[in-house]
């Protein structure tokens, strides 16, 4: 079995005059947690949107290890992505607001439906069995993420932290091979972020799902990631383990400014301490 699950080569996308993603290449190996980091506007979510086929790349390709071997993801229609085993969460929570949490999760099971229109209209035994099976699968995810008491709540009334978890749960219900998490810890407090770290590790270890993540919280990144790609203004700066990337001078400059700025900061700090 091939080691590489997703392979992006020379990805670029242009919106009018803006080159949002500029010649980005990376490979995501099976079973690892791969994180995209970078300051705001770096193009990380755009890369996600390219993988989800919300945007089409101007140049470059994305290849994915489908059920029958590597296929060109950029040739697929957007609604085919889920059936290929790729699920994602959104930066600004795109849940189905006027439905309950349970219904949101059941919609996640859509790619696994085996019933046709006619059997649903008459609600045959086959449909009933399919419904019960879907609910059993969804229940497993609810148990993993502790969403039991929110099962019947309308999503619109839930607090932000819970909605983030519901979004994760919905993505898990699709039984993905590759999970795209867009800033899973944004808006969460320290405890919730810790929970998220545990869940991501569980998803990787117990469920065997490969995770591709965009994240700003360096603590979370260091805790869960196997490899990191740093981006800035559409271009990739460095790829490697979290420690390697964090020590890369180009990355430090993108975040903190040039070495001169940093050393002048250190001099100021010294003065204050003295």
């Amino acid at each position: 079995m091939n080691d590489v699950l997703l392979s992006a080569k020379n990805l670029s996308v242009r919106f009018g005059g803006v080159l949002a993603v500029n010649d980005v290449s990376f490979d995501v190996k099976r079973g690892e947690v791969f994180t995209l980091i970078g300051p705001n506007g770096a193009g990380k979510t755009t890369v996600f949107n390219l993988i989800s086929r919300i945007y089409t790349p101007t140049t470059g390709t994305i290849d994915y290890a489908g059920p029958e071997g590597m296929l060109r993801l950029t040739d697929q229609a957007p609604h085919r992505i889920a059936s290929l085993g790729i699920a994602r969460t959104f930066q600004n929570i795109e849940l189905f607001e006027h439905a309950t949490v349970l219904q949101n999760l059941l919609i996640g099971r859509h790619t696994h439906r085996r019933t046709g229109l006619l059997s649903e209209l008459f609600f045959t035994a086959k449909t009933r069995a399919a419904e019960i099976e879907a609910r059993e699968k969804v229940e497993q995810v609810i148990e993993l993420l502790d969403l039991q008491h929110h099962r019947e709540s309308m999503v619109a009334g839930l607090p932000y932290g819970v909605r983030k978890v519901v979004e994760l749960a919905r993505a898990l219900c699709t039984e993905p091979k590759l999970l795209l998490l867009d800033e899973p810890s944004s808006g969460l407090n320290v405890e919730e972020t810790d929970d998220m770290a545990f869940w991501i590790t569980d998803i990787k270890d117990e469920l065997g799902i490969t995770v591709l993540m965009v994240e700003h919280d360096m603590g979370l990144v260091s805790k869960v990631s196997d490899r990191v790609l740093a981006m800035s203004q559409g271009q990739q700066l460095a790829t490697g383990t979290p420690t390697e990337v964090q020590a890369d001078p180009g990355v430090i400059e993108a975040y903190l400014g040039s070495v001169d700025d940093v050393s002048s900061l250190r001099r100021e700090n010294h003065k204050v301490n003295a």
């Binding site: 979510t45 949107n49 919300i54 959104f90 930066q91 600004n92 795109e94």
Partner: protein, 291 residues
């Protein structure tokens, strides 16, 4: 020559559609609502002018501004009482509300004893006069319509470009929250926009009155103004006028050259063509949710 004659009447009719469509677009840009009440506001404006002249006995040159200002105030009131509380509801519900407002306006006008369902004439000073240019016959009403529309567009353009109020309205329609933080009184501006839209509708009504006479079902012309707004693009003010002109001309031409019945549905066929070829209209912008 026949063609030119048709074009002129098409342009005149198109100006009316364009004015109503202008109201639609103004309201849509400011409050994200589609107001199905514009046609009926136009009708009330026409009746307002009629009332000013017959009941209050104002001369024509006083009735017109009185009707326009009256309608503008009514528009502000409408926004305050009925529209502001429901902003944020699904677009469908808000559309139904404006349809309800239209029903009420039509119903109340019909209930007023001396109006009922009869047709009335607005006694304008230029009624019946025509201008002859060779074989071409242009009625004074048509000249007034085209002239006033051009003036109004010029005025609005100047206002939006050069006046503080106009710039504030533009800012508010592009990013309400940012405008609010800059100190622009967004809610009050929304009221003003509705007032402006109602005023424009009143002008359209007063211009149309000499041509189609004043009656309670005048407002159904508003339904033809929707194709105008769609053709122009729902987010573009000049687009509304251009759309109106296109629809007016298409209607005039199809009334003459195509078999009977096509005249009424020609605007709608244009809409469908537009939605297939250029879904956001000629000048509209594509709004896509950023995820």
């Amino acid at each position: 020559m026949q063609l030119l004659q048709l074009l002129i009447s098409g342009v005149a009719q198109g100006c009316i559609y364009g004015l109503i469509a202008l109201g639609f677009v103004l309201i849509y840009k400011a409050t994200e609502t589609v107001s199905f009440a514009q046609g009926d506001l136009m009708m009330v404006g026409a009746f307002g002018g009629l009332a000013a002249m017959t009941l209050l006995g104002f001369p024509f040159w006083l009735s017109v501004p009185a009707a326009i200002i009256g309608m503008a105030l009514f528009g502000v009131l409408l926004e305050r009482i009925v529209i502001r509380p429901i902003l944020g509801q699904p677009a469908f519900s808000i559309v139904m509300l404006t349809i309800g407002v239209g029903y009420v306006l039509r119903g109340v006008i019909t209930m007023i004893p001396n109006i009922g369902t009869d047709t009335h004439t607005l006694p304008v000073p230029y009624a019946g006069e025509v201008l002859r240019l060779g074989a071409l016959v242009i009625s004074a009403e048509q000249i007034v319509v085209i002239g006033v529309t051009a003036l109004l567009c010029g005025g609005l353009f100047a206002m939006f470009r050069y006046s503080k109020l106009g710039i504030a309205m533009q800012a508010s329609s592009q990013n309400q929250l940012a405008a609010y933080y800059m100190g622009i009184p967004v809610k009050r501006l929304n009221g003003l926009v509705w007032g402006l839209a109602a005023g424009v509708a009143a002008i359209a009504g007063l211009l149309l009155a000499p041509i189609t006479f004043v009656h309670a079902n005048m407002g159904f012309i508003g339904l033809k103004a929707f194709p105008a707004a769609v053709v122009g693009g729902f987010t573009s003010l000049p687009g509304a006028i251009v759309g109106g002109l296109i629809i007016g001309v298409v209607e005039a031409l199809s009334g003459f050259y195509l078999p009977e019945g096509f005249k009424d549905i020609a605007p709608y066929i244009v809409v469908l063509l537009m939605l297939v070829l250029k879904p956001n209209g000629l000048f509209g912008e594509k709004l896509r949710k950023k995820v």
